[in-house]
Assembly symmetry: D2
Homo-oligomer: 349 residues x 4
Amino acid sequence: MSELRPIELRSDNAAGAAPEIVDAVVRANAGSALAYGDDDWTARLQEVARRVFEHETARVFPVVSGTAANSLALAAMCPPWGAVLCHETAHIVQNECGATSMYGGGAVMRGLPGDDYRLQRSSLEHAFAATGWGDNHVSQPKVLSLTLPSDHGTVYRPAEIADLAGLAAERGLRVHVDGARVANAIAALGCTPADVTWRAGVHALSLGAIKNGALSTDAIVSFDDRVTDELYYRLKRAGHVASKMRYQSAQLEAYLSDDLWLRSARRANQAMAQLAAGLAGLGVELTNRPDVNMVFVRVPDTVVDRLEQAGLLFYRISPGTIRLVTSFQTSDADVDEALARVERALDGR
Amino acid sequence: MSELRPIELRSDNAAGAAPEIVDAVVRANAGSALAYGDDDWTARLQEVARRVFEHETARVFPVVSGTAANSLALAAMCPPWGAVLCHETAHIVQNECGATSMYGGGAVMRGLPGDDYRLQRSSLEHAFAATGWGDNHVSQPKVLSLTLPSDHGTVYRPAEIADLAGLAAERGLRVHVDGARVANAIAALGCTPADVTWRAGVHALSLGAIKNGALSTDAIVSFDDRVTDELYYRLKRAGHVASKMRYQSAQLEAYLSDDLWLRSARRANQAMAQLAAGLAGLGVELTNRPDVNMVFVRVPDTVVDRLEQAGLLFYRISPGTIRLVTSFQTSDADVDEALARVERALDGR
Amino acid sequence: MSELRPIELRSDNAAGAAPEIVDAVVRANAGSALAYGDDDWTARLQEVARRVFEHETARVFPVVSGTAANSLALAAMCPPWGAVLCHETAHIVQNECGATSMYGGGAVMRGLPGDDYRLQRSSLEHAFAATGWGDNHVSQPKVLSLTLPSDHGTVYRPAEIADLAGLAAERGLRVHVDGARVANAIAALGCTPADVTWRAGVHALSLGAIKNGALSTDAIVSFDDRVTDELYYRLKRAGHVASKMRYQSAQLEAYLSDDLWLRSARRANQAMAQLAAGLAGLGVELTNRPDVNMVFVRVPDTVVDRLEQAGLLFYRISPGTIRLVTSFQTSDADVDEALARVERALDGR
Amino acid sequence: MSELRPIELRSDNAAGAAPEIVDAVVRANAGSALAYGDDDWTARLQEVARRVFEHETARVFPVVSGTAANSLALAAMCPPWGAVLCHETAHIVQNECGATSMYGGGAVMRGLPGDDYRLQRSSLEHAFAATGWGDNHVSQPKVLSLTLPSDHGTVYRPAEIADLAGLAAERGLRVHVDGARVANAIAALGCTPADVTWRAGVHALSLGAIKNGALSTDAIVSFDDRVTDELYYRLKRAGHVASKMRYQSAQLEAYLSDDLWLRSARRANQAMAQLAAGLAGLGVELTNRPDVNMVFVRVPDTVVDRLEQAGLLFYRISPGTIRLVTSFQTSDADVDEALARVERALDGR
């Protein structure tokens, strides 16, 4: 069956770049421009972002990865003796090799339990009750980091974010959103970008772009002047200020313009909705609610083997569980073909 | 005079990207590919680099800036209680906001004097004599970092690097080259890439690409397995592992292929040779020996003002001193026109 | 009832210093001596420690607190991208304000579950199975830290330490023991100091002295030359090398001489055994097995209030639970009197 | 000549402890007391310090070494992207193994030239003029650290400190004094402790005590609430909060009480004045102005050898130059005897 064309469902990180973004890079290659962000593309990016986020002083910092965005934003918000509270499955705890503790000068991450891979009000309340506030034996909670959507594809609604952020604010914590796939969440929620960020009490956003069509840049969006001031220096000394920044800014400008980011995210979400419905129709058990563009499903390992042989590309999470992720490049035909292969695999063919 | 077309001599950082490199990015946008370096472009990059550097186990790590390359390479080579020895004008001391001390966990940089913006044998000998070796009050010298070319456009010859590296090795130091413009140096020296790196005793190179035609990536080239092993983790936790790495690797593959990097550097060097000769012919005083693509010249401030009005783009270094830098995009016509404007400015026109 | 003399059961940290140790300090104040450890007291301390621990190259570093001992020893054993595995209730995770992550340059602590406040073989096996070994997204387990006794007064037997250390060694981890009260554990186990340290596969020990009679110094005991070499520099740059070190070393010399540390620990343990037996006889519920010098007991809050009014000094852990700790200064009379007051409080008097 | 009793002139670090301070420790060993500073001695220390420094909110933090005092105070005053300006011979640059950069999360130290081992107004002015203010390539000057007295025994007068602090304040820098021997300076200047600290614009003082009679503790004195708040957490996570703090606080209480610190310093200064006058009378060349308790003198190496044989204890700084330091324990008889031996050595006997 190796002649079957592969269908990419491993990760949206494996997808290519959006043509609009490649075009923007090509067009940015015109003439000379000052380095380190003193260029027209970076200036325009700020304007576009302020319009899109409806925030007059928002500041966008292009960075090369989501790990950089998360860890540098958190370091700018948390003193070295502080703790960042987040869900125990958060990417910053599980998948960033301690980046936040490194940039944070020894700040720690404290993973909390919560249903559905999300924090609830009670998660925070229990954590606060168990904290020795003002006791210097204990890393003091200083930042709340929410992942939107979670790494298991679940989303917070704007009111939920505002509620958690309000609870955090009572204790003086600032709030960060890890939005590696935030466009997918906004598209799914049908809300505005402001609704899940500053309007809900969020001070800084890790804005994912790479998984959704950019070439080489994600970004931090700061809604707080203190965070902005710190990031200006922190990014430079971390080597995260691109010298020819125009090529990074041009990508983000195109990404946020003409709704490209949300259109791309909607495409990925729709492909997933179609895929998840089809899987359910085939009697396959889904283990998460596929709010955005990823689903976790349970199938016997013999079926998993057959799916691999059939050219379906996906990740094995644990015995009997696989993860399927769609991207802006996943077509309806891809989904139909994937479902057909799943059906055959279930039938033992 | 504002109608005159600007001539870019501020920095090679202000130049655009080479068409071959833009094409490589566009071509890399084909199909899906695994993230974080598990892609064909990154694999091919390793092969190209090993051929170009004539070293079988060299390892290339794309990073987004020269600051990242320097500080992460140095952190991988220097224990936190160590000191990095370098020239007192080195970029790592003067222009990177303490990046090496941050990534190095408190390692310090120790700037040494030396003629011509370069270290001499005596610079190191004096530093070694003044060191309390094995005394825990004193940061122990552990790395020698040479800048090739220096930020003032002067170069070390391969034998000079080997001599300094040998002296360093006697004391157990490892050796790093900050090669933000190393292609210009190699082109000027007419040597091989190996001659100024591992063959001369160098363990890791910050390989500049952005100033010489890349879009969004420089690189670290490690010739030492211990450095390679550390960088694998250090880069990730610094957020310097691009998820869609293929778009970074494709640039570097193109850069190192078909001699593009050296051809581009030769062009910049030749433009500078022509410019420097012309300036000398006009009686302008040069304050450095323009071995590569930059020159510092002394002209009265009234002339400097006239040059700016005439559309020449350059940096004022101090009263009466300006810096002119050529790039791979500087044409013979640019140089001729620049010289004509200088002549007019000197004449008071 | 305020006229009743207070009985100290809050913490062994609240006890005074042993007369032998105060005398040693007074005697050390004779003549001049070189600073930073080049003195006779520090030299003799090394000899005493090597004899007591039966290890020819063991090296003792006096430090001012258990937090310093733990975090600096761990930083010397763990690369910045590493993880320190320990029980989820370990002092390093719960009570040291992120010291290990700070000194460790961003190394993280990973708290694992385990019965009885101790790690079991299965705790480690599960952690290892859940680790992405060699994956740079994940902080790599590099050190196992065991707390002996635990902060809840339970101990590992030598064979248990050796078993866990062996499992750790298979994966290349080094092993640390947080021995803030290790003398109490050794006394309770009836084993030798070597049995719970290097002979069981331990590379470095945080040797508590302050809780057991020292004035101003705990120590790190290193059984590994690499750790020793790193600590020499790491302690200095952390400001943890006392200039008049003789006054710290003299305390530790006295502490380890003539069995003082074990005699003092035995006294504390015996007082606790007597107290725990008495409490059980009064029908009070103990929530831990008081292997050493602390017990946690459950009594109604009205009784707790009465105990406080009766001049008993202890800590409230949570509603209905208090902690009682004995020290080398707790006399048989103190215990008898404490039990008498508990009996009255239970009777409602 | 080995039968001659040794005369200690190597360092005040080699002296013993003052009897008043040993007594204070012995007296503190009475009863139980809460750990980590919640004890009566630490409370009284605050009162004494506020009276001595005439400052109502000053806060004293005992720490185990001058390196700890300097580096933790500076880390609390300087952001990670900042630079600490100091004299190029300052202890923090030359003798602390990078401690400030470690605790400062990569903050750098920038040594400036200045006559007499002190900074002048022009030192700061030149440094400020050479700084790229607000440029993120450059570590931003954030703290001025003055050493009083310098490591070569020279002092700033209160008006000089105020002048430099004023200049620093114009640029937003905060001011630190490294006062490892500040008592000697205050005694020499005949001023009040306030005159050389907060009244002159100083925010934090490293208060040396060990070189002047304490057993095991120096201190940070903070005159700034922000510094105080940070130090509370920073000291704990650095392991610099002694658990049985009473024994450290008792030393400092005794030190600052009844003028002990200034009396001891005066004794050391007087011994030096007598020694320096005697040396000058013998025709020996002094290379510094012995404002406090140390002198550097030039004598032929043959004489140096003879002095060593004669039982004089001192440090060789460089060929032909030695350093002599007196302490509170240096008696008039010691000085007379030392001068007699110098005279004999000069005579070739």
